[in-house]
Symmetry: C2
Subunit: 133 residues, 2 copies
């Protein structure tokens, strides 16, 4: 399931916003207002980014977020993984897919789909947040 979800869009917008506010803490409220992003949802996203050490957070009055990595150090692929969890181009290629699926075992299209998966991953790994800033 390769796809840019709303959450990833929001994350990209937030990272862009924070990146462009060098040396200044940015609050979730600010990003939410400027980007027209639901505040609660955005908060969750920022928290995840903080937990993955992509952002630094400061609580309390005058708190906010700042970058902990350079945009070019953050591949789009890992951002998507952080926000939406593991992704694969087809359900069956995912590790946790225990379901009996056409792609398991000697499935007729497993190999070519796996190849495609690799190619898409490559593309998303080459892209970094700097491409969006």
């Amino acid at each position: 399931m390769i796809r840019i979800s709303k959450k990833v869009e929001y994350a990209l917008m937030a990272l862009k916003f924070i990146s462009n506010s060098e040396h200044k803490l940015v609050t979730a409220r600010e990003i939410s207002d400027k980007g027209n992003i639901p505040y609660d949802l955005l908060s969750k996203i920022l928290q995840k980014l903080k937990n993955e050490n992509i952002l630094i957070s400061n609580q309390g009055t005058n708190g906010g977020y700042s970058m902990n990595k350079r945009p070019d150090e953050i591949p789009l692929f890992s951002l998507m993984n952080v926000i939406d969890g593991e992704t694969a181009i087809a359900e069956c290629l995912m590790d946790n897919s225990v379901k009996d699926c056409c792609l398991t075992d000697s499935c007729s299209i497993k190999n070519p789909v796996t190849v495609l998966q690799k190619e898409v991953e490559e593309l998303f790994k080459k892209k970094t947040i700097s491409d969006f800033v």
Copy 2:
């Protein structure tokens, strides 16, 4: 929303199966049985492929499906469009997206997302069914 859905998987499996049965009509039931694909769902898929002139169908007893195009004439991209409808890597890039979305107008990440969309499309246009047969 770029993704290989179950339906597209089933379509790929079916096309592979039909391609490998040269000069013989293949029934939906056969494909369903061999590929462990829900019959009703598969039928819908085959009908779509027929309506798009990818397959030829013959009704009635001894009927079935046969290829109407060579696998290398069918890009994966158009197959996905036929089966699942128009796809885009982000919801907002879709033509029918009338919703007020962050990516409309002067959205901060619209351009890079559009570029990414093009790149993914390229990849899926270069792939053809012959890569899966």
